[in-house]
């Protein structure tokens, strides 16, 4: 039993990753938009789990807050507003689907050809590992937020400020776009 739990703990990333892929597939394949949104929520939560498995605790929590708390709710509102069971969607997929699928498969093939060596080839001479002195900021749970904030506010202050302006513009733009026109 302990061995089992240990195995799960070691493969946490793979488990969450595969679950996220399943959720994403349901987003694309499901016929009803509400089901798509719920699968999207599931996928986002699983990706948050992936972030936690990669020891990015702050980002995992931010992912849950931003996506599950904000974006999914926004999507659900719009789905309820727009998709008033008109059943107008005769065909779920576009006419050009065949070509699109072919193009995506081609891309997958090209990428796998590049990746084949990395995955099935001989192991790289040294596994990627953090040097001890660099790992300190990221290793410990309560230090992750500290490390991120140091990186964000010391190294990337300008992009951060630009982001705040972009968010303001998006807010105003969304209000202007969605408001009803008075006659």
């Amino acid at each position: 039993m302990e061995h089992f739990i240990e195995t799960i703990g070691r493969n946490m990333f793979a488990i969450f990753g595969v679950m996220a892929l399943g959720g994403a597939a349901v987003v694309v394949a499901s016929r009803s938009a509400v089901h798509s949104v719920l699968a999207f929520l599931f996928a986002m939560l699983c990706i948050a789990g992936c972030f936690l498995a990669l020891e990015a605790e702050f980002l995992g929590m931010a992912q849950i807050l931003v996506y599950a708390g904000g974006i999914v709710v926004l999507f659900l509102f719009v789905v309820m507003l727009v998709e008033v069971t008109k059943a107008k969607e005769k065909e779920v997929f576009q006419l050009q689907s065949r070509y699109a699928i072919g193009a995506v498969l081609l891309g997958v093939a090209a990428f796998s050809a590049v990746f084949r060596k990395v995955i099935f080839g001989a192991a790289s001479p040294q596994a990627l590992k953090l040097p001890e002195n660099l790992a300190q900021g990221l290793n410990v749970a309560q230090q992750n937020a500290q490390a991120v904030s140091r990186g964000l506010f010391a190294g990337y202050l300008l992009p951060f400020e630009i982001l705040s302006v972009v968010l303001l513009v998006a807010l105003v733009g969304a209000v202007v776009l969605a408001k009803t026109e008075r006659v």
């Binding site: 694309v28 992912q63 995506v104 990746f115 660099l134 990186g151 990337y156 992009p159």
Partner: protein, 100 residues
């Protein structure tokens, strides 16, 4: 420590699913969600490389990407609502105003 190849594979698959969704679905809302999936795949890569290079820059940038994704969703959904008011549809095949 998580294998970097595993992360790259998962994020690649996530990106492929997202791009396939954008290309083959007709519903504008689903297309927006697939764009979000692609952004999340990119975020996953950012965090994986940050983890493996031992710098926090990747995590900081992933946070910025998350903010931009939120802005994009707000504007995109406003466009969808405006479109629905004008044309009474959210199917991208029915929207051909620029066709002339």
């Amino acid at each position: 420590m998580v294998n970097l190849n595993a992360v790259l594979l998962i994020s690649f698959a996530l990106f492929s699913i997202g791009i396939a969704g954008v290309l083959i679905r007709r519903n504008a809302l689903v297309i927006l969600m697939c764009v979000e999936l692609m952004l999340n795949a990119a975020n996953l890569n950012f965090i994986a490389f940050a983890r493996h290079s031992g710098s926090v820059s990747g995590q900081a940038f992933a946070l910025l990407v998350m903010g931009f994704a939120a802005a994009e969703v707000a504007v995109g959904l406003a466009l969808v609502v405006a479109l629905y008011r004008k044309r009474d549809t959210v199917q991208v095949d029915d929207i051909n105003l620029l066709k002339g």
